[in-house]
Amino acid sequence: MRKTPIIIAVLTAVLAASCEKDLPYTSEDWFKQNVTVDAVATCDTTFTATIIQANPYSRLMLYSESTGRTYDEKQEADIIKTAEAKLTVNGTDSYPMTYDESAQRYVSSYVPEEGDDIHIDVSTSMFGNATATATVPRKPEIEVSTNSISQTDGNDSILVDMSLTITDPSGENYYRLIVRAVTNPILWSDPSQSASSSAIPSGPQYKRFASDVFYSDDDIFLDTSLTKGFGGWPAFMTNVFSDNGFDGRTYTVSIRKKCPNGSIRDNEIYVELQSLSKELYHYLKSVQWYRIQDSSDFYANDLYIYSNVVGGWGILGGLSASRVTVPVR
């Protein structure tokens, strides 16, 4: 006789059970805080690394009842200053890294050379060990010839048309191209320092400006994932590219650079071709895609920021550059 209420109670308990459940979010390895190691071993330049805390969403996003929106708790990076970082080059030479407060980076005495194999070990008391490996690529071969210089925008600007010849060694190679122009000092008043601002106006001062942006119709600079322009770069154009299409060959590409007329420092610009390690290439590509992402686009596929750091996040890349100066007088 007493079975009936027991059965009813059990069934009610089962039925009343919620259909949602909080998953073990922060306790799982997958979600734990960790370190981000950002470092690029650049040929002939002292090696440095940034070590920052990586946080799961729960540490950073807060919900505002009043606005109904989420926002970041922190706007600045949590730089880890107490990590033990060690660099091993070519499997033999060891270089300790120390934290430089002014640069907010770990610095070493190591200056990368072409072909060096680099291995970094980062150890923190909170987050354990993270390691990464990279190879410094060979310097690329590039020749530049100027085809024409013309004036445009009512003589306010000049267009510099150039031909670049890249000699690509066989095998997979990855590049970044910058075409940099730096202006002469220009009298500049910061528009953000308005009279109504409580900040002390900085007043007009002389500043230089620079731009790496160039234009080209060549397919090697085409990236169909870059559906929007960004930072002066047109949509579908990238300056980070691979040798897919000219592997092992000498390839000539035409580019155009637009500069302000008559105010270029020393009347010259420089063209720099950088050889990238494969890992750095993928990292830079993913960051370029990320910066045009629309966070409110529900239909967007999730984007992976490339990482070669084992036990952490970030990138250890290798880079070697060749620079050519081009007069634009």
């Binding site: 059970a17 919620s18 949602e20 459940k21 909080d22 998953l23 979010y25 997958w30 950002d38 690029v40 650049t42 330049t45 440095t48 940034t50 920052i52 990586a54 946080n55 969403y57 729960s58 950073l60 807060l62 919900y63 009043s66 970041d72 990076a77 970044r176 910058i178 940099r180 730096v182 202006t183 230089r208 400006f209 731009s211 790496d212 942006v213 169909t224 994932s225 559906t227 960004f230 002066g232 770069w233 691979s242 950088q274 890992e279 990292y283 590509k285 993913s286 960051v287 990320y290 629309d294 686009d297 239909y299 967007a300 596929n301 999730d302 984007l303 992976y304 920021i305 970030g314 550059a321």
Partner: protein, 863 residues
Amino acid sequence: MRLRLALAALLAIVCCVISSAQTRTVAGRVESLDGTPLAGAHVRPVDEGGGAVTGKDGTFSLRVKTDAEVRIAVSYVGYETQYRTIGASADDTYIIIVLEEGNRLPGVQVYGQRREFMNFGIEASQMSALSLDAERVKSSPALFGEADVLKTIQKMPGVLSAEDGNAGIHVRGGEYDQNLVTMDGAPVYNSEHLGGFVSIMNPDVVDNVLFYKGAFPARYGSHLSSVVDVSLRSGDMNRYHGQISLGMLSSKVQAEGPLWKGHTSFNVAARASYFNWIVEPMLKGLYDDKDAIARFAHMNYFDLNAKIVHLVSSRDTVSLSVYAGRDKNNESPDGSTAEMSGEGSESQGSVPFKNYSRQYTTSANGNRWSNIIGSLQWMHAPNERLRLATRATMSLYSYRTSYSTLNDESEGRAYTDRTFTVINNDIVKRQMTDELNLFHRSKVADYALASDLAWSLPGNNVGIGIKLSYDRLLPAVDARRHTTTRTIDNPNFTYSDAAANNFTYTVDEASLRSRIGSHKNLFSASAYIEDDIRWNKAISTNIGIRTSFYSVKGESHISVEPRLSASVLLNENMSLKAGYARTSQAMHRLTSNSATTPSYTWIPLMKGMKPATADQLSLGYNLSIGKQVEVSVEGYYKHLDNIVEYRDGASFSTNRNDWDKLIAMGKGDSYGVEFLLEKGSGPTTGWLSYTWSRSFRKFDRPGMEVSGGKRFRSGADRPHNLNIVLTQQLGRGWDITASWTYQSGFRRTLTNMNIYGGQLDGYDGWSEYGADASYAHIASLKELSTFKERNGYKLPDVHHLDISLNCRIEHGWGESTCNFSIYNVYNRKNISSVYFGYENNAVVLKGLCRFPFLPSVSYTLSF
């Protein structure tokens, strides 16, 4: 080279045909009274082990003793078992066996009759294949009591469900779109109703299902991973029958009978759901977050099946099958208002004012899809050994989603009451309205003409066929955006200005209309030849070759696909089997990896793409224990190439290119071991299946890298899959079925970490110049959201026990069947989707269990 290979294979087949005709074989065809071939019928010597299962055209081939009279039993669920005796002196024999319907009403569920095995038998050359009849499907415990073909297949080794309670299948590590699902030969491009709660195959009209997951016969093609070949049941030529079913999710009606007695029959069935009436309130009561059900808030479907069969003559049969179904799945509109009162509150007399900023947002999602499928078939049997089936099919699929959002932000000043509640807007200083409407469509119109010739010879079943098809697809996204900004010309207006109506606005409007995608055409042609050969009592093979030709604008491709399966009988009770199949696919369904808003888009081959291919090698061992139990173990390795995925971060809502710019092509590998133990007869029947499998993907082609070209797990990488299904006859029309499922958890891509990173030191635009860049570090560190690995987040493992109790009551004029089912008896919270939620101002990861403990009842009246 390929031509030579094809010729060599053809030569081998011809040689096989000639050489194998030297031994004694009983071959033939099994069909119903109206001439419909019965696929999946079992043919076995009564006093010997082994046996054969009829193929799709009803043909079989069986080796028997040469020196003794042999009695053969032919059985098929729902039909009277027939016996034939083959004399001792007879040489190779070809027989046609016509089965009559058994002493039951067609369409009535039959529980407790002797069950046959799902496997094709230890002697058959075919491996990696199963035959399911409608009764097996109906007896399986089902969610809300809705028996389902695809959900029954999910309980087989090598098959995983797309989500908990979802009818979608992943076979041997393949993707959802790699399954060829056909209804009477016509392809189905979306086999789901209610977002996957049930499939579109109404079990009341399903006759038989042939399911292949490897060692594909050459007659099947166009998809990489599996074939679900559904045959619809012909109506009774002589008597009228029908049934009415009432369930918690839907109700059904089915009727069949003669249109012209003995010559023409019909079979019609219709279903309609009422999800919103019972199931939705029931689920809503179980969710913490009532909005979680919003995704399914306005979801319903209806469908209609009809089949007409006409016996033109004793040698010719014409049949027409039609299916029409439609779904809608609209989310509840979602809206929110946020208001902040600013500083500088003032008053005019006794009426206070306040400055405010207000944001109002609303969004709505709509989703509809429909299938219209037709198949017109002419079966012609010029003589006993030849059978020609010619079929014209049509499949029209339409999928549409819409997303609209309105964002209205305004700043101004308002009259308020003493508690500062707005009672009237006074002046709007600035108002910005952003209205976005997004329409996503995916349409497929598939027209095909196919002809299959089956030629039965002693020891050989030869099949030759050709198929031409034309597909017209529309993958398109239309976006319309309209923004309006209204700004007061004098921001320093005073109350007297407002009172005097002394102010004006500047209005800026902008409209954007864009469309990506357009109609795309795909022409396909394929031809095949295959021969199922019994070399002797111990060895049988199926050798075939299929050639597929695909043509799209400006490009064409040929795929040569050898097929081979072989069986070696080690003794009367055990055999070894091996199979190899190459398959190709020219259409893909793109699925976004977004866990919150999935989207599905069919695209054909496009310029620069190649047909996807799969090479699969299988090895199996079959054991027959007595006459009631069979065991099979199979291992497989499958390599996929030219498969398609969305690129990292790709979005069709922001893209202005065609679809080929959104996708990447890559490769994949799957491997695993499958075990099936099946008890086919007796008062207790059922099966145990276990699969261990892995599945990976790699997209590393230059310019098409996904996850930087790293190898990652596919969504179907769920290593363990165990199913136990047991049916017990309780007598007096009662039976009970219990099913326990255990599967490794689902895999999802979950962006969950914020890291710091950025571009190398450099200058994008004309920005302030610091010093000559060293490039030695990542400059301008920014917060970036990312994840560790695509499909890297594993949800908790899934397991549930389901029970189904059936009771049949004979009325003389008909029969009542009651079904009581419990899904997830011990209320395991199986998580199939996750989302980030907020509790106490902190982020929590919420798992949504769609189907907790769910009892259901259904009633069927058959007459």
